[in-house]
């Protein structure tokens, strides 16, 4: 049973550099360095990571209030079971790749991570975050209990994570591929979850049932402090932001940038391409949909014309119909066609259906189109 921890008479100054803080700082630093090269998307991700961290800090500093039902043993054990199942599903979830099916995997992964965050917050409430509390704020019984929980968690971690990694790394090519594949996807989140939360899970599992008097005390405690309100606001933002950004994909208009310029490289001299009186132009268009949860589609083509007809030099083929970048969205190509009509007008259409992995029922059609007549007049772009 976990009661409100009494304040010790002699308050010890909390060290600025704890192992957990150093670990978090290094991981956040590495994450920042990893995602910075991704430009706008990187900035969104970094911002979200810091929001999650701020939420964690706010929750940690909020007044601990033992909930009447969260503190029940059966609920706590149910939470632990749910977290374990989520971790198993995460391990089986591959990394998103930069292909058109990115969104389904990336969205599912994000959904699982958000779900895990919610479960962790509930677990923190159920155990009153005793597992990670500073030494000065736990009594002797709690300290003994959490030390024991850490010992058990250590063994579980060594066997479950260390054992799995060692066996998978040496057993065969298939297991090694699985390990690398998993660690680039949900496996990394499962690893971090166990690294930071497993002791709390063990604690929640081992703790005995609340006594009725504790529940009564909890019910009589003041309901909310300012810190709690801030923490709840940040929590709502953390959980709600991915969904809000997913809806924005379908609601906000796409952002478009275009450039038309003289050819920057040599012509490819396609069979049948105009030659003597040829004029060419390079067309570049980019459409971005959404913020954070987003897709970028681009058209980069070169068109030549000679007064009889316009022809494609490059950039208007099936292999050119692919997204330039997708983050947590599904991009499905619905049309990719190039036609030349009897008047010699060249038309290229690249149409996609974009939807967030979190809200797959909301889709947006995005079209990039280039139509050039035989005299080089641009009739449609993009």
């Amino acid at each position: 049973m976990i009661a409100d921890p009494p304040i010790r008479q002699r308050r010890l100054r909390r060290p600025a550099f704890t192992a957990t803080r150093v670990t978090l700082a290094i991981l956040v630093g590495l994450l920042t360095l990893t995602i910075l090269p991704f430009g706008g998307m990187g900035a969104w991700l970094i911002g979200y990571v810091f929001l999650v961290l701020a939420t964690c800090v706010a929750l940690r500093n909020a007044r601990r209030q033992p909930g009447s039902w969260l503190g029940r043993r059966v609920v706590r054990r149910g939470l632990v079971g749910l977290i374990a199942v989520t971790c198993v599903v995460l391990v089986a979830t591959p990394a998103p790749s930069n292909t058109s099916d990115t969104g389904s995997t990336g969205g599912g992964l994000l959904l699982l991570v958000v779900f895990l965050v919610v479960l962790n917050i509930a677990l923190g409430g159920a155990t009153q975050r005793v597992a990670a509390a500073p030494d000065s704020s736990v009594d002797e019984r709690q300290e003994a209990m959490r030390n024991r929980a850490h010992r058990i968690a250590y063994v579980v971690f060594a066997v479950a994570v260390g054992g799995t990694a060692v066996v998978a790394d040496v057993a065969s090519q298939q297991t090694r591929s699985w390990l690398g594949w998993s660690f680039r996807g949900g496996g990394l989140f499962a690893f971090l979850e166990l690294l930071f939360v497993l002791p709390a899970m063990v604690l929640a599992f081992l703790e005995p049932e609340f006594r009725p008097s504790d529940v009564r005390e909890a019910m009589e405690a003041p309901r909310q402090s300012t810190g709690t309100r801030i923490a709840l606001t940040l929590l709502t933002l953390t959980v709600g932001l991915p969904f809000l950004m997913s809806v924005l994909v379908a609601v906000l208009p796409p952002r478009t940038a275009t450039t038309i310029q003289a050819p920057s490289g040599p012509l490819r001299q396609q069979p049948g391409a105009p030659s003597a009186t040829t004029t060419c132009r390079e067309f570049f268009a980019r459409r971005d949909v959404g913020y954070g949860v987003q897709a970028a589609l681009q058209l980069h083509a070169q068109v030549c014309w000679d007064g009889r007809r316009a022809v494609e030099d490059y950039g208007m083929n099936q292999s050119d119909c692919h997204p330039d970048g997708t983050d947590l969205v599904t991009v499905a190509t619905t049309q990719c066609t190039r036609t030349t009509d009897a008047k010699g007008t060249l038309a290229f259409t690249y149409r996609t259906s974009v939807s967030s992995g979190l809200t797959p029922f909301l889709t947006r059609q995005v079209t990039l189109q280039l139509v050039v007549d035989r005299n080089g007049n641009v009739l449609q772009f993009p």
Binding site: T18, A19, T20, V22, T23, I26, L27, L30, A144, R146, N147, R148, H150, R151, A153, Y154, F157, A158, G162, A165, V166, D169, V170, A171, S172, Q173, R176, S177, L179, G180, F183, L195, F196, L198, P199
Partner: protein, 344 residues
């Protein structure tokens, strides 16, 4: 307690001796977990045995408290053990994060100071999917298994002679683990079947006039990560007449490829078919920490039907002098239409 008994107890008896052993253990682990040196050239097992020796000294010095699950521990010992696990758990995360940082930092330092090695390999740019190399695996296992013992060895103070428990003769049996470890390493290298490796995400593709190209990378792991890895990295192009290797001037281009380039008469072929180590490299990504790899050769020939036969050969030996040498051959056969007839 007699002097003789005390001598048998441990050579790291005092707190400072234990702390020195802890620092040494962490330093050796850091060496294994970093990229420095880039290769142990078959001598990593010596480092592992040194690490095991330090571990045994520390386990004996702490009375194997971290591994004791007996209920006979007194209250102080139980509290010390459990507290060590709690701090150890927190430090484990920090240690793994620091190890990752060390790995990346040393890789960048190596690349910045020396550039890619002669065979084109860079620590962060391996084209084969090693996932966790043998030396890294040892470092991780060392941290996971030994951190609680390191914590106990670090924090426990010197105790008066009368408070020390009786010597535990059964802990002397731990020394047997040194020859057992060496024996297991030899056995794994002798008996474990060779394994293939998949390509990593670090491969590159290129283009060639009138031809399609694809990159092939793969390897053979000898000794299940505790031996050596021989790798194959090659860029192959095909034009319907011939399949050929690109990026290695020691393997000449076929006439059909040279003709497609339409080179001016005064431009030699070597100006176009120059070494491109990110495409084709002989011996890149070879891992020889726990076993020696020698006599690496790469050869490519195009037969009369235009099929490319590319072969990598290397010799792997665990023991000095190469008495147990094993020849490893990797073959890639690509037809003139791009069909892969054989690959590692």
């Amino acid at each position: 307690m007699t002097t003789g008994n005390r001598a048998r107890r441990s050579v790291v008896e005092t707190r400072w001796q234990r702390r020195i052993a802890v620092v040494l253990t962490l330093a050796v682990t850091a060496v294994l977990g970093s990229n420095l040196p880039t290769s142990f050239h078959g001598l990593a097992i010596v480092v592992v045995l040194v690490l095991a020796t330090l571990d045994i000294l520390l386990v004996r010095a702490t009375g194997a408290l971290a591994f004791t699950i007996r209920r006979t521990l007194d209250e102080r010992e139980t509290a010390l053990r459990d507290r060590a696990y709690r701090r150890g758990f927190r430090l484990l995360g920090a240690a793994l994060a620091v190890a990752l940082l060390l790995f990346i930092a040393s890789a960048y330092v190596l690349t910045a100071t020396a550039g890619p090695s002669q065979n084109g390999s860079t620590p962060l740019g391996s084209q084969i999917n090693q996932v966790i190399s043998g030396r890294w695996l040892v470092a991780i296992v060392e941290l996971v298994v030994m951190l609680p013992t390191l914590m106990i060895a670090w924090v426990e103070g010197d105790r008066p002679e009368e408070e020390r428990g009786a010597p535990q003769p059964h802990l002397s049996l731990l020394w047997l683990s040194i020859p057992a470890l060496a024996g297991a390493w030899l056995l794994v290298n002798a008996l474990a079947p060779d394994q293939g490796t998949a390509p990593s995400l670090n491969s590159f593709d290129t283009s060639f006039p009138g031809a399609s190209c694809a990159h092939y990378s793969g390897g053979r792991v000898v000794g299940a990560q505790f031996g050596a890895t021989v790798s194959l990295n090659v860029e192959v192009c095909w034009n319907g007449t011939d399949a050929f290797v690109l990026g290695d001037p020691s393997i000449p281009l076929p006439q059909s490829a040279i003709a497609a380039m339409q080179l001016p008469p005064d431009v030699p072929v070597d100006n176009v078919n120059y070494p491109q180590l990110d495409l084709t490299s002989c011996g890149a990504d070879t891992v020889d920490d726990f076993a020696m790899v020698s006599a690496s050769t790469c050869a490519g020939t195009v037969d009369a039907s235009g099929t490319l036969h590319y072969t990598v050969r290397a010799r792997v030996s665990v023991l000095p002098g190469g008495v147990d040498r094993r020849d490893v051959t990797l073959s890639l056969v690509v037809a003139r239409d791009g069909r892969v007839l054989e690959q590692p």
